[in-house]
Amino acid sequence: MNLMGRDLRFGLRLLTKSPGFTAVALATLALGIGAATSIFSVVDAVVFKPLPFRDPDRVLTIWEKNPSLNRFRMAVAVGNFRDWSQQARTLEGIAGVYDATVNLTSGPNGRVDPEELKVERVSASLFPMLGVQPIIGRAFRPEEDRPGHGNFALLSHSLWERKFGADRSIAGKTIGLRGQPYLVVGVLPAGFAVLDPSVDVYVPLALNANDPRFAGARMLMVTARLKPGATLEQAKQEMEIIGARLELSNPAVDRGWRPNLFRIQDQLSGNVRKAMWVLLGAVSFLLLMACVNVANLLLARGAMRQKEIAIRAALGATRGRLIAQFLCESVLLSLAGGALGLALARGSVALVAAFGPASIPRLTQATVDGRLFLFALAVSALTGILFGIIPAIQGSRTNMHAALTEAGRGGTAGRAARRLRSALVVAEIALALLVLIGAGLLLRSFARLRRVDPGFRSEGVLTLRVPLGGGRNNANERRVAFFAEVSDRVAALPGVRSVGAVSALPLTGLGGGTVFWIDGRPTPPPERRPLGLTRGVTPGYFGAMGIPLIEGRFFNAADTAASQPVAIIDQALARRFWPQGGAIGGRLITDANDNVEEIVGVVGTAKPDKLEGDDWPTIYMPYSQKHDQTMILTVRTAGDPMAAASAVVRAVHAMDAEQPVADVRPMDHVVDEAVSGVRFNAVALAIFAAIAFLLAAIGIYGVISYDVTARTNEIGIRMALGAERGDVIMLVLGQGARLAAYGIAIGLLAAFGLTRLMQPMLFGVSPMDFETYAAIAALLGAVALAASYLPSRRALALDPLTALRHE
């Protein structure tokens, strides 16, 4: 212990006496360990962490697919959900889930601040099937999951804390949803979610599956559990047979449709899994680069301590003693670097969990996982230890006499060590190139994505959700007047240029839709009828959103509930069904109300879901003829839209003080959120690339710098023999250029093979994009030369006589 204490003290002294080396080594370790632990933790939370259910790998989600319509994750028809529940033998506890929003209109003690809540209507079988117990009260009973008997509520943990003060006696109390009393039966555990973690309250599904109005409505998300002993393959086969049976018995609804089963974990993380693996790969490269850098630093320092090692050996130190001493020093460095890395990881993970995109599931649950930190620490520590004790092992084998008399002159052992260090730097440059190319491709993708025309002009537009459900303006006859008056009030505000409202904003999801066909053309069979999105809009909507009118007219005051039903279609629909033009005056028959709408206008296509997604044919109807209970006001302002926010909200509350207003945000934020997933990947990889860049530069500088020191004598001889400035610079730069060339060549070869894995993450950019490869290779080459230039300046500054005497 005494010896270890002394070795630790000596190690600490050495580290403080060489602040440059220590700072670089610690920074390298901290960055490598910190970045690796952060991403390992995020990926673990998003992809690998088991869901808080009983046997989560046996829980499935079931969608419907129709390959001929290119639909693979369609919501399930209510009738099919009923039939599956009755017929499936490989599944148990099949539950339906339906997303909606609802206004909280009263609390257990009466009045409560009105708020729009996210609600999931769920089968009573859901919670027993998942094996989830409420922490207060109970789950739903089967008799509560019946039409007309479903006024019960299970609160999410976050809503219970936020809105009801974590009242432990909440079970048995009544709250008002949409103006109706709901009995609170319990509170769910923290962190519980089926697929959507933002759900506030659960109510019984209470659906009549036999009601023909709903039987064919594809509106449910279905979860189920594999029966004990059943496999996913068996369940898929059985459901395929059931789907075929239903197609025969109910072709109007089910022709071409089949169940599509997924494990719930895959459903959650499937979209982002590939991206997570790419990030994991990149950060693993980073950890490797950090290890390579540390290895190089330690080898270089070890080479400079050969004399000390020889002296210690000459004074009687055994190999074991020398190794123990160097081991202590390396462990000290690794632990210090690890501590810094842990701090960095904690901060990074907290930032990512707090500000990361909502499109990445379970991101908010990411925390620094101790196991993963220890793994990253172990990798780095092992590297530090291995390369830290190599000089001790080498030194104890060396002829001491030779080492003492030739210390500082390189020798055979010095050349071998230099080759090893050069090989490590070449590997590091190759890894850096890989990470940089990956980041470059993603950044170009992101840039291309941002240039995609979304079909509207978002700048200066304020949006706010106004859910009427449960309020005094919810009655059908009141809704139209309400939004008309709100629009007038808001339009009169200073700085407001135009006002409109829509049932679903662009880039926020597909929303409502309908099958349709063209009046006057052969009626397609039900299973071949095209799907289109439907939107209710007020007359000012297109102007407020900057969606251009291509043909015909906008809606106006003449389009009322009593007038001829009319529709405006987007260009996607017009081009598909009237490729030669002439859509104006055409007539659509929509399944939704069997009405015939006359097309009075064609507008530009607005992206409904993702910028990189497909265009969907969209049918706009005047709000006077399709009045959804929730509309989003769109207010085009002269300046900063948020500057008008409070005035707009006051205008709404001036009409009804109890009216909830939610999601007050600029349309620019909506657009940002739509690309947040891609941006997150691009930014994360860009950060790694910057770190990789730095590590590569440090690695190259370190090796070249050490080499100049080791070759001081040689450089002195060359200068004494007539070498000029240019010759010395070329000598040093040439070595840096050689290392860079080898590393870039190897990196490019590896990139050709590996970047194809990134294809799903890219938009408008090929994994083999020549411009990206060329730019990154040139950049890294320039960095290598720059990193070599500084030592070359030092070589130039040498006095030949001093250099000749150098040892």
Binding site: N2, L3, R6, F10, R13, L14, K17, K307, E308, I311, R312, A313, A314, L315, G316, A317, T318, R321, N399, M400, H401, A402, L404, T405
Partner: protein, 220 residues
């Protein structure tokens, strides 16, 4: 104490062997003060390194305190070195990041001397060599003569029976060199066997006899 029989050292080169030492034979008795002299490249330092167990690549027979060194494993040679030998280098070879005290402590720690005993021995050495005031200084803070003094103190601190000194005054002023040689003389008078390599005839006069080397051979 030391018996050498046909000790040779060579390097294999592109054109055959290059001999550094040729058929070195001789004896050194306990208590002697022997000087090895010869021109540069004669093999003096090499011979000293072999005697000090710092160089293991040689042929021939070497007996040291009755131990057949030529038959011993490197690990056993190190033990022999630790038990009997102290080495003084021309370039002092103090460890730059250790203080004077710590440089003196190092050989004792490698010989598994208890820390309490080590402290006492080091303090005695500091006192003996009149360098108590320098105990917390680093080698870079000392003059050449002081560094060599510390090196000599380090060489004798474990009470070796044999001191090997390679050009101990080579980097010193004449007055500092005289001080070191007087010290060696005193140690020899106290019973320590000393073998030194030197170019200086003045230093050679401190010894009992001279072994002359030339081109790897003993010539006298």
């Amino acid at each position: 104490m030391i018996k050498l029989q046909n000790v040779e050292k060579f390097y294999e080169g592109g054109y055959g062997r290059t001999y550094v030492l040729r058929r070195i034979s001789g004896e050194i008795k306990e208590g002697e003060f022997v000087t090895i002299m010869g021109p540069s490249g004669a093999g003096k330092s090499t011979l000293l390194s072999i005697l000090g167990m710092l160089d293991g690549a040689w042929t021939g027979e070497f007996e040291f305190f009755g131990n057949q060194v030529h038959r011993m494993k490197p690990k056993d040679r190190v033990e022999l070195n630790k038990k009997y030998i102290g080495f003084v280098f021309q370039s002092y070879h103090l460890i730059d990041n250790l203080t004077v005290y710590e440089n003196l402590d190092i050989p004792l720690s490698y010989r598994n001397v208890k820390s309490s005993e080590r402290a006492s021995i080091v303090c005695d050495a500091l006192d003996r060599f009149h360098i108590v005031g320098k105990r917390d200084l680093f080698p870079s803070q000392l003059s050449g003569g002081q560094q060599q003094l510390v090196a000599v103190a380090r060489a004798v601190i474990a009470s070796p029976k044999l001191i090997l000194a390679d050009e101990p005054t080579g980097n010193l002023h004449s007055s500092q060199g005289k001080e070191i040689m007087e010290l060696f003389k005193k140690l020899n008078d106290e019973g320590t066997t000393i073998v030194q390599v030197t170019h200086s005839h003045a230093n050679a006069e401190y010894g009992h006899r001279v072994i002359n080397l030339a081109d790897g051979w003993i010539v006298a």
